[in-house]
Symmetry: C2
Subunit: 239 residues, 2 copies
């Protein structure tokens, strides 16, 4: 959509923003209000994204190599499903039909899901960890720009447990003592963050002034990428 | 395992028990107490079966043709997951490790899952409807034989909503006006009930007296098959 993104897409390694600018702006809470979609669009996109996160987690439940992994990942799937259901209830509370409201967003999110599903179980689990982690952070951040009396409820849904630590533990035990897997998942993590930023960018609205939009978005993405890097660090992977 | 089952497996159409015997015994509540596994085994098998039902439902969420179907089926997946989680909490309440306790049952249930997963989306959804329906009935029936102070909690978990009506509605709208699909799903339903009875039989214990075991089991299965037939009827399919 925008220059900033085109620039990042061309880079082979993880997106890294200009450190000077980011260190300056990250300290002040950036306001995404102008770019926050209307409440219905926000809820529709967030609900469909949580449904996708649920589907991804369910897929790795079904193919998990051990019963223990199944149990952990089914909890993770349950957390995403609870968020999805909380958000669709919120849509219905405002008189909307959840399926109809999510429908226009299905194609874009489904395409993202296909791109990021991974080539094997470990890559898929990494998507559940890093991709979902990024999107959870993003929607929580974006919700701050909503002006609605439902905000406390919406924040409670988005802030709820997502099982991130559980997946990290599962992945870490697979990576430890397997440097080839670690290297492969580090590469996968870098690719993931690029695709995930694109779907996050798609979620945002735009104003007439694209340059100003990008100036607002950049520091937010810098924060989100920092959180992504911390998630990679937790696995001992270089972002 | 037993004659009764071997007999049923050889039949091409839906199992039908001797009506005389069943009409006599169905009116008196048959006691499965002798064949009810110990509490831990019961909870482990029931929890793993609900995890399988959850996985099956999740698979059809991920491949659902419409957003509306996704929404409905994700509710169904959520109901099975809630049962699974309720049962694993019950295991942990009794000091057990859920993954370890389910582990010995994984191979048998996984094999059943592969056999019954269906060749396309509609068959898979039919499995979510008929297979899960049968197993939900079965475990609820079997729980009656448990002697534990936890029984009210266990019954509450097993009796909770499973979304059966939601799936039936979804299937019915696909079948209506599509006699070829109806015929195919009728065949699938007949095959399913045979496989499902085998996994149900596997769940039961045995005593020294196999003939007496079968005499106890037969009327229970007659009831379960009657419920299966009602589920088929609800779709306009002949069992």
């Amino acid at each position: 959509v925008v220059n900033w993104f085109r620039r990042e897409r061309k880079r082979a390694d993880a997106p890294r923003l200009r450190t000077r600018a980011s260190s300056k702006t990250a300290s002040t809470r950036v306001d995404l209000a102008d770019l926050t979609p209307d409440l219905t669009t926000f809820l529709g996109k967030a609900a469909y994204v949580q449904l996708m996160i649920f589907e991804n987690a369910s897929r790795v439940v079904a193919t998990a190599p051990t019963t223990e992994a199944k149990t952990i990942l089914s909890d993770v799937a349950g957390y995403a499903l609870a968020k999805h259901q909380g958000l669709t209830e919120e849509i219905e509370r405002h008189g909307g039909d959840a399926a109809k409201i999510m429908e226009p967003f299905a194609r874009e999110v489904d395409a993202f899901q296909r791109m990021t599903q991974g080539h094997d179980w470990f890559e898929s689990v990494t998507t559940c960890y890093l991709g979902a982690g990024f999107l959870n952070d993003f929607f929580l951040r974006l919700a701050g720009g909503l002006t609605t009396s439902a905000l406390p409820r919406i924040l409670a849904i988005l802030e709820a447990e997502s099982g991130e630590k559980l997946i990290a533990k599962e992945l870490l035990s697979a990576i430890e003592g397997n440097p080839r897997l670690a290297a492969r998942l580090a590469l996968w993590g870098r690719r993931l963050v690029g695709d995930t930023m694109l779907i996050a960018r798609w979620t945002l609205g735009t104003t007439e002034n694209h340059d100003s939009d990008e100036a607002r978005i950049e520091p937010v993405f810098t924060e989100l990428i920092a959180a992504h890097t911390r998630r990679m660090d937790a696995l001992g992977l270089t972002a």
